[in-house]
């Protein structure tokens, strides 16, 4: 398979009456000339590192190397544990996990890029939250990572997953779309609904620029991971309710590519525009680097 069209993947899964994850695992094993079990075990290792990266990010006192960020996941967890958060347990938990993984990343800790490090909190937060809430088996969660990967591959092949090329929409947007599709599958949705969830999630993040303060993957990246997982739940929820995207996923991906090309380089990971160029952004940069 070429992974250049989500619609084609969905069509093939429908024709064979199998979930996307099985189609992808089978194809990837064939392409790598290895057994499905080997790829499954590799993916399981990624899930284990994902869980570890949540744990290490919950520390109340750990600060990033720059000293700019830290402790947000802990604060959010406290609020959720005290039943103080307004959107309920699932949303709260998802935000805690997204913040935690993203903070681990900012502290030069070990994470799984999904699809990138800047967006590494979104997918684990979505999948680990839903699996804890619904007691979904670990094997099913591992399988859903294959579905997420397929969405990511199509986006990478047809657009980009690099902030330097496509802005934050290419990183958090891709991660959110991947998470939305996987959530749908884990919650019993059809391949077609996964496609709609991908489209909806990506549409909501189109145009988002990559404007990190001081060029660090911290401000606003950590909080954008919390937004990304929330958006994944929104898209999955809509798709599972039968809401369809008017624009097909593949066309949304193409639109994302064109928007990325039209974006000024100042808004693509160069730390020259957007939030990085605000008075406070510049001040924080000075604080870290002295220039």
């Amino acid at each position: 398979m070429k992974y250049d069209s989500l619609a084609d993947l969905v069509l093939q899964a429908e024709n064979e009456n199998i979930p996307l994850c099985k189609l992808i695992l089978r194809d990837q094993a064939q392409q790598a000339e290895t057994e499905e079990k080997v790829l499954f075990e590799n993916m399981k290792r990624s899930l284990i590192v994902m869980r570890e990266s949540v744990e290490s990010g919950l520390d109340a006192n750990k600060r990033s190397a720059s000293g700019l960020t830290g402790g947000d996941a802990f604060k959010m967890r406290e609020a959720v544990n005290a039943n103080k958060n307004i959107c309920g347990r699932i949303f709260g938990e998802a935000m805690v996990k997204a913040l935690a993984v993203s903070q681990t990343n900012a502290c030069m800790g070990r994470i799984v890029a999904a699809p990138t490090a800047g967006s590494c909190g979104i997918l684990p937060a979505a999948l680990l939250t839903i699996s804890d809430d619904r007691n979904i088996s670990e094997d099913d969660v591992v399988m859903s990572l294959f579905t997420a990967s397929a969405v990511g591959m199509v986006i990478a092949n047809k657009a980009s997953i690099a902030g330097a090329e496509g802005g934050c929409q290419a990183e958090c947007g891709a991660a959110s779309a991947m998470a939305a599709s996987a959530l749908v599958e884990l919650c019993g949705g059809t391949p077609k609904q996964s496609e709609h969830a991908c489209a909806i999630a990506l549409k909501n993040i189109l145009g988002l620029v990559c404007d990190p303060v001081a060029g660090l993957v911290e401000i606003p990246c950590i909080k954008r991971n919390a937004m990304g997982v929330a958006n994944a739940f929104v898209a999955a929820e809509l798709a599972l309710a039968g809401v369809e995207s008017a624009i097909p996923a593949d066309e949304v991906i193409y639109a994302m590519k064109k928007i990325g090309e039209a974006m000024s380089p100042a808004l693509k990971e160069t730390a020259e525009g957007g939030l990085a160029a605000t008075p406070t952004g510049k001040k924080l940069c000075e604080k870290v680097f002295g220039h």
Binding site: M43, R110, P115, A117, S149, I161, A214, E269, T270
Partner: protein, 220 residues
């Protein structure tokens, strides 16, 4: 061609897949092209790399790679100190390479015997890389599979000679490029293959007339 683990992965030390993990891999590949232990490294950053390398730890990452570390090695954080311990002198420069990908680095390595190599690579997202120049030769290597680099005299039939040997040993080629400095000068074949390749096959290639060298670069 992308695989699932290019998207879910790499397992890496943060904070940036393109600016940290990709940089480790470019550094590691440059070391493998040199083939010996480097004692000095001049690293030129271009584009986004030049503007943000300090913030993303790209400097630590690329030196970690040159030292041979993997993308998930927790010593990446302290690689500049490790370099001092291991006797690797490093210098960073900011530059602008015309027409290059936004995340491009040029690495000039030397070993104790004076052998040197210039490698240019780009980090294209999610930790994936493309090596696009080795010395003055334009190449396109992803580093995902074993790759043969074969400098040879620019005479007719050299591609046929090499590919025939590979075919006879059932080695499948999935990427091929050839570049020469001038007609009748030195040309370089870059051949990406599926699976591994035995050193004995490499020796057969080396023994052919007009072949100047043949190096197997392992996938990273």
């Amino acid at each position: 061609m992308l695989q699932v683990f290019d998207i879910i992965g790499p397992i890496m030390i943060g904070p940036s897949s393109s600016h940290t993990a990709g940089a480790v891999r470019i550094g590691k590949y440059a070391r493998s092209i040199l083939g010996t232990v480097p004692v000095s490294a001049l690293i030129r950053f271009s584009g986004s790399f030049a503007k943000t390398y300090k913030g993303h730890g790209t400097d630590k990452a690329i030196v970690a790679g040159i030292l041979g570390m993997e993308t998930d090695d927790e010593r990446i954080r302290i690689s500049l100190e490790v370099a001092k311990e291991e006797g690797l002198a490093y210098t960073f420069e900011e530059t602008e390479i015309d027409g290059a990908h936004p995340n491009t680095a040029e690495i000039f390595l030397k070993d104790a015997d004076g052998s040197e190599i210039l490698v240019q690579g780009a980090s294209i997202g999610g930790g994936n890389i493309i090596i696009n120049k080795i010395n003055n030769t334009v190449v396109s290597i992803s580093g995902k599979s074993d790759t043969l680099i074969i400098p040879h005299e620019d005479v007719p039939g050299m591609i046929a000679v090499v590919t025939k040997i590979l075919a006879e040993h059932s080695v499948n080629i999935h990427g091929f490029s050839l570049c020469r400095d001038h007609k009748g000068g030195i040309a370089v074949m870059t051949i990406e293959i599926d699976g591994g390749i035995d050193e004995s096959i490499n020796q057969v290639i080396l023994s052919q007339p007009h072949i100047l060298a043949s190096t197997i670069l392992k996938a990273i």
